[in-house]
């Protein structure tokens, strides 16, 4: 039977000794050739899920099939079919990009006659030809990520796992990685399981998004579907003076439900209302604002609606909890 390129997960649980359930009974399905964005704050369970799906961690309960193979029983088969770039680009600082590619190709059983050509092709593809013989210790964060991606592709995998591939990168490097991921899917039909804490990344790249929080999937669908669940746009007003903030908040409250925001005053508009209604009312009542903006729902709005927190706030919370645990 020809194995599929998809991922099927049912009731997946991963518990750490004396720790919480990092993954708490998740179900998900990734179709062949799909880019699936797994979105959540730090500590939500994204990386643990990737570790289980890539056979680095056995699940505590539940089942997971990757390319049609069981992650518990068929580890070696799965490893031969997947490419993985983990959160930390674990590269050897004393080796060059070419050394890395040669080593990876050998260990992934790429035929000897093809190794050099494959390395050259990948070096071209990720734009590292000119730096191929430099030690990795001199690479920037973006170059390391691109090399990491090239290493994951050495054996032409059917499914690619990318664990926060652009975290810490500058916008240009981030865009380069996005383009490469999109190209791989388009040209080779590779299935991509991508974890990220960046809303924009999930929005731009993913065909479907799963939002994970505290080990549970709280929402799943295409970005458009998820945003449509929220439905109504929001209006954001920037007061001329901080003192005007309460007055403007009271004024806007008549148009919809208030939204938590530290940067501006915002409301989610009631059905049937638009920006023009607000602008007219602002003019008529002489409300002093610097700017008024209508925003379509974002994945952050989805996260807020599902968890009661913004993605940014959840990340800070996870960081604080982590620090408290370390202090204890």
């Amino acid at each position: 039977m020809e194995p599929s390129n998809g991922i099927e997960v049912e009731g997946l649980v991963r518990e750490y000794k004396k720790g919480p359930r990092a993954v708490d009974g998740i179900d998900l399905s990734v179709a062949p050739g799909e880019i699936y964005g797994f979105l959540g704050p730090n500590g939500a369970g994204k990386s643990t899920t990737v570790h289980v799906l890539t056979t680095l961690l056995p699940p505590t309960a539940g089942t997971a099939l990757v390319a049609g193979y069981d992650v518990v029983k068929d580890g070696p088969k799965i490893r031969g079919l997947i490419g993985v770039a983990l959160q930390e680009a674990a590269l050897d600082p004393l080796l060059t990009a070419r050394d890395h590619l040669r080593l990876q190709a050998t260990l992934q059983s790429v035929p000897k006659a093809e190794r050099s050509a494959r390395a050259e092709e990948l070096l071209h593809r990720v734009g590292l030809v000119d730096d191929a013989d430099r030690k990795v210790s001199g690479y920037s964060g973006g170059m390391k990520r691109r090399l990491d991606l090239a290493l994951a592709l050495v054996h032409s995998p059917r499914i690619l796992f990318l664990d926060e591939p652009t975290t810490g990168l500058d916008p240009q490097s981030r865009t380069d990685i996005w383009n490469e991921v999109a190209l791989m899917r388009r040209e080779a039909g590779v299935t991509v399981f991508l974890t990220t804490q960046y809303l924009e990344e999930a929005d731009v790249l993913a065909d479907r998004v799963g939002i994970i929080d505290s080990g549970k999937i709280v929402a799943e669908g295409t970005p458009a579907e998820l945003k449509a669940e929220i439905g109504r746009p929001s209006v954001h007003a920037i007061p001329r003076s901080e003192d005007d903030r309460p007055k403007i908040a009271d004024f806007l409250a008549q148009f919809g439900e208030p939204l938590a925001s530290t940067r501006d005053v915002a409301v989610r508009l009631r059905d049937g209302l638009g920006l023009t209604d607000i602008v007219r009312a602002v003019d008529a009542n002489g409300v002093d604002v610097v700017d008024l903006e209508l925003r379509a729902p974002t994945l952050d709005d989805v996260f807020l609606a599902k968890t009661g927190r913004t993605l940014e706030g959840a990340a800070e919370e996870a960081q604080t909890t982590g620090q408290e645990k370390r202090q204890r």
Partner: protein
């Protein structure tokens, strides 16, 4: 070539390439043992006047020590390198390939053996240049090269076990002085039968390192002493087998893949 052999070769190559790009890992294991030998040979030369001392040349007597001391450096270097792979997550990268557990361990040890043999050749050249005569002749030198490889393998496996077990380069380096105690409480500076202090002689007799040194020493100053060779090879092989078994087990735990 089989897949496994290819994998072992690739890992060994990486180990050698890494070391060759770190002068700090190459120079100390070559220079320090030779420097210590030179100091001892100068300061303890009059020991050769003791009745029953097995040779007229203290340099020939002391030349055995760098071989074992160099192996201790190999232990530390191997352990530190492997621990770094654990700490940086490189071992996860390797775990995600088709690499077999034991091929990884064997490859890493093969790299250590190559470097160990380079060390042995260096000590040999230093000794021969300084005028040391090998009583066992060219065949003895060949046996010495083999012994150097076996010692590097055994001590390298010990370092690998510690690295996989602890995952900490700092722990490996902290253990280094403990290994050196074994070297100093041995017959490194005097034949055991000429050690006057009872407790020291007993400790040196119980210490396997004494037999490793005496194995090398016999090839240099005695010729073919089959008992010394058997004890030297025997202890190293036992150490190697135990260390390899422990390292394999620790690696399986460390490479927690399904």
């Amino acid at each position: 070539m089989s897949t496994t052999t290819t994998q072992v070769g690739a890992i060994a190559r990486r180990s050698v390439v890494r070391t060759s790009r770190q002068p700090a890992s190459i120079i100390p294991p070559l220079v320090f043992p030779v420097a210590l030998m030179a100091v001892n040979a100068g300061g303890l030369r009059s020991s050769t006047d003791l009745p029953g001392f097995p040779t007229d040349s203290f340099l020939a007597f002391a030349l055995a020590v760098p071989f074992i001391q160099g192996a201790l450096f190999s232990t530390m270097n191997a352990g530190t390198e492997i621990a770094r792979d654990v700490q940086t997550g490189f071992i996860n990268r390797l775990s995600l390939t088709a690499l077999r557990d034991w091929a990884l361990l064997t490859g890493q040890l093969a790299g250590i053996v190559v470097l160990g043999v380079v060390q042995v050749v260096f000590y040999l050249v230093v000794g021969l240049t300084a005028g040391v005569r090998f009583e066992s002749g060219p065949a003895g030198i060949a046996v010495l090269l083999v012994y150097g490889a076996v010692v590097a393998l055994a001590f390298g496996a010990l370092g690998a076990w510690l690295a996989y077990r602890t995952g900490s380069g700092e722990t490996i380096q902290a253990l280094f002085p403990v290994l050196f105690v074994f070297l100093f409480i041995s017959s490194m500076n005097a034949p055991r039968n000429l050690i006057g202090v009872d407790w020291f002689r007993i400790a040196a007799t119980l210490n396997p390192v004494s037999y490793m040194i005496e194995c090398v020493r016999s090839l240099i100053i005695t010729g073919w002493d089959w008992q010394a060779l058997a004890l030297g090879f025997g202890f190293v092989i036992v150490l190697g087998v135990i260390s390899f078994a422990l390292a394999s087990r620790a690696l399986r735990t460390r490479m927690t893949r399904t």
